[in-house]
Amino acid sequence: MSVIGSPVSRVDGPAKVNGEAHYAGEFAPKDLLYAATADSTCPAGTIVTLDTRDAARAPGVLLVLTHLNADRLPYQEPAERVAVDPVAGAQLRVLDGPAILFSGQPIALVVARTQAQAEYGASLVPAPYDADPPAKLRFDPALAQPTSEAAAKKKRGPETRKGDAEGAFARAPVTLDERYRLSREQHHPMEPHATVAEWTGDRLTLWSKTQWVGNERDEIARRFGLPPANVRVINPYVGGAFGSSLRTWPHVTLAAMAARRARRPVRLELTRRQLFTFVGHRGQSEQHVRLGADPNGRLLATICEATGQTSTYEEFAEPLLGPAGATYACDDRLTRYKLVPMNVNTPCPMRGPGWATGLVAQEMAMDELAERLGMDPIELRLRNYAERDPMKDLPWSSKALRECYAQGAERFGWSKRPLKPRARRDGRDLVGLGMATAIYDSGRYPTSASVALLPDGTALVRCATADMGPGTYTSMTQVAADALGLPLARVRFELGDSTFPPAKEHGGSTTMASVGPAIQEACGAVKAKLAGVADGAPITDFAAVLRRAGLDRIEAEASAKPDDAMKTHSINGFGAVFAEVRVDVDLCTIRATRIVGAYDAGRIVNPKLAHSQCIGGMVQGIGMALFEDVEWDEHLGRVSNGTIAEYIVPVNADIHDLDAIFVDTREPLLNPLGVKGVAELGLCGVAPAIANAVWHATGKRVRNLPITPDRLLTA
């Protein structure tokens, strides 16, 4: 019986609960030293002097590195940039010179015998700055520049056109013309980023929080001018990341630099405040949406002009206009994408990168259009249902969005929703219902995996992928058990080591589609090898076969890669998200009391994990809609609420009834498992569904997310 499709509990759950699971910062090689950084307090300019004498004399301090004494590293260019890196610009070279590019940039690294000594030493490094040139600190769409050619090659702006959208908009009998803003957000995983670096001669081992051990190995090898084989990156467990550990950030370089100079292993763990300035964020955005429709709700023009945020030294452009291109049928369409370069650390992908952000504007705009048409929001979406990908002009590989609308609406009780806003009241609460479409593009990467059949009767499966929380350990164990015909208990899956067979990034909801098929291939290969020596014995008896043959293992490695389906078809996950909110009529406090998501994510390998993924996305969507707001001080060029107490994320008391259902589908082209990926999709559409529900409850449109009580009160 197939174990794929079963709600298996996490195989790594017990280790995480009882403390056997070791996270990057918990590895402690012998003679470990501790590091902390002093960071710039000025957003742009030059360090005038750097007096490290007090820090060097502080108790326990062994080493202080600054741009004055740090090694100049070669920073070799890659042949081709990986998808997780910004499309253009030059990455921050830490301790490479006196130039300051953003407030929070590390300017000194202090290594000491204890963490507290290192932090105290770092607090003793004063740095006067020459604040020239003036910093660019305002997120003002008027200062935005079109995205570059490099971005255009990746279909990230600056402009896409089909037909005559502006003309069609001008002629449309029903129009909408609004701007939507989303605040900057931080990933804030439970586990802060940390790296432990140890050199043995010219070989470097890094225990480092990452969603991609292979890229961290290659990136650090290039930065230090080493052969990649000299670098090993180990990271068996990731305590959440949401995209913040896709890139190899400067703290990894710092840890390795310090360990080389100190000739001892060094640990560098970021503080909660440093997570705002070291490891990226979802930048601020404004989207100007213009929709034109006929009186029956058929879209005649869709125009979305988006402004994002990037740093002054790199161009971070993301697929923010994906939804505007792919969601609804419309012949006349236009998208534009600009970025405001600012003295900030470079943004990076954050769950549902681009798509979740784009959906905020698009799905709120569609709700407003439905209001103007006096039409049910689902009906408006069905009237513009895209039977092909309208922007790429390709057929979908599979699409069950209609079923998502129908099954989600049924589960949620959408049919009882009054069309008019402010129509339901329960005591002090105004009750509102809203919905939104979810869409995310699916992907798959070439991947390798190995399987070893061992004398103890277990199979050891390995791949250099990661598990930041979705349950890779568990789902891949299921795939391998199925392919080998073994019970789960006899399969062990290992990941998070760059010496394992290579995988690409654990991101973009690609892991199941990429790693799963590689494991299937490797299992097939090892079974073929076993057959060669087994004399017809069943696979379950391989321990006996090994004994008879005098072998200590039978091992095979295999690869799997996508075919050209992604070129001939548009492959996306879809969903419909429904939200109920209750708004205190006077105090304007909002509770998201009920959320239902119905998803077409292809085949579901583990319904328990997938459900967990999606309700986790709903929690994050509640944060996006109602709470999360990095307060960027335009005068100081600093985040003002840089703590986890003041950067508001949902807590348990904010979470009520969440449910996710999966329509029964199987993706025919992307991969043999039939999956399309779940994780990114789980955030998509949640925030606009909540925002639309707030309108339905109150009659007020708040187009700046998050919708905090003050914004609703003054709307």
Partner: protein, 329 residues
Amino acid sequence: MTPFLYERAADRQGALALGARAGASYLGGGTNLVDLMRETIAHPELLVDVTGLSREIEDTPEGGLRIGAGVKNTAVAGDRRVRQRYPLLAQAILAGASAQIRNMATTGGNILQRTRCAYFYDDAARCNKRAPGAGCDAVEGFNRIHAILGASPACVATHPSDMCVALAALEATVTLEGQDGGREIAFADLHRLPGETPEVETQLRPGELITAVTLPPNGLAARSTYRKVRDRASYAFALVSVAAGLELEGGVIGDVRLALGGVAHKPWRAHAAEAALKGRPATESVFREAAEAELAPARPLRDNGFKIELARRVIVDTLVKLARTEETV
């Protein structure tokens, strides 16, 4: 964190002797002070741990309750006498922080917790409270959570405690001990408005230790409530909060207490509103007048103007609800 010495006080005299040393700070649960040390905002040279002292809740001969400064917030909120006779205080404490923090935090420490102003917490920003005379980045910066009442050009920070708003409404007194002896002061007089010296937050003299808070016999138990509006349902500081107690005699307001949180540098006793309520009929229009009277001097900053309207609504709504409440005791 700057290196420091740690001493655990064995008794009150020992604590006061240690507390008199230069650079000494008393340490309660540490839920705020240790945070400030880790953020390099506070740099005490000596921490005098007083959590072993003043750990009793006792009835007073007058019929009140005396709460030792070392009693944990959880213990106060869970005390049967507090819950029955001073439900306002129990509600206010439970509206604050998280269960874990309340388990650590002491009564004295709660009273002396520092503002949550982001610029106070960021040593790269200017703050007159941290560095007197440096200037204030909050006035032109993010000041959504800042004061609308009693602020000064030097400081617009708010006091973050929920418990203290209830203590202000309950007319508690605070017992202070110093090496020169003890004294009692009204709770309302303990915290100061910022004026030109926002770094001086209370009337405490150097080395003085809060040893107890005394609640008077009247706990407003019949009709009282604590309402808090915050950004999320738990573990967030008040945007605006109200502690209210009401006595009604045939539809006419007798004794009334009203205090506001999240609006000023100190727990804000709403004397103007109380004066506008006493002896008047308990109607919504009277409540509205009282709220207007209290908030007339309110001055908004860039981001916190909403608090004026929000405070008005919370005051009126809370009083309406209280007036309708059947007496519970």
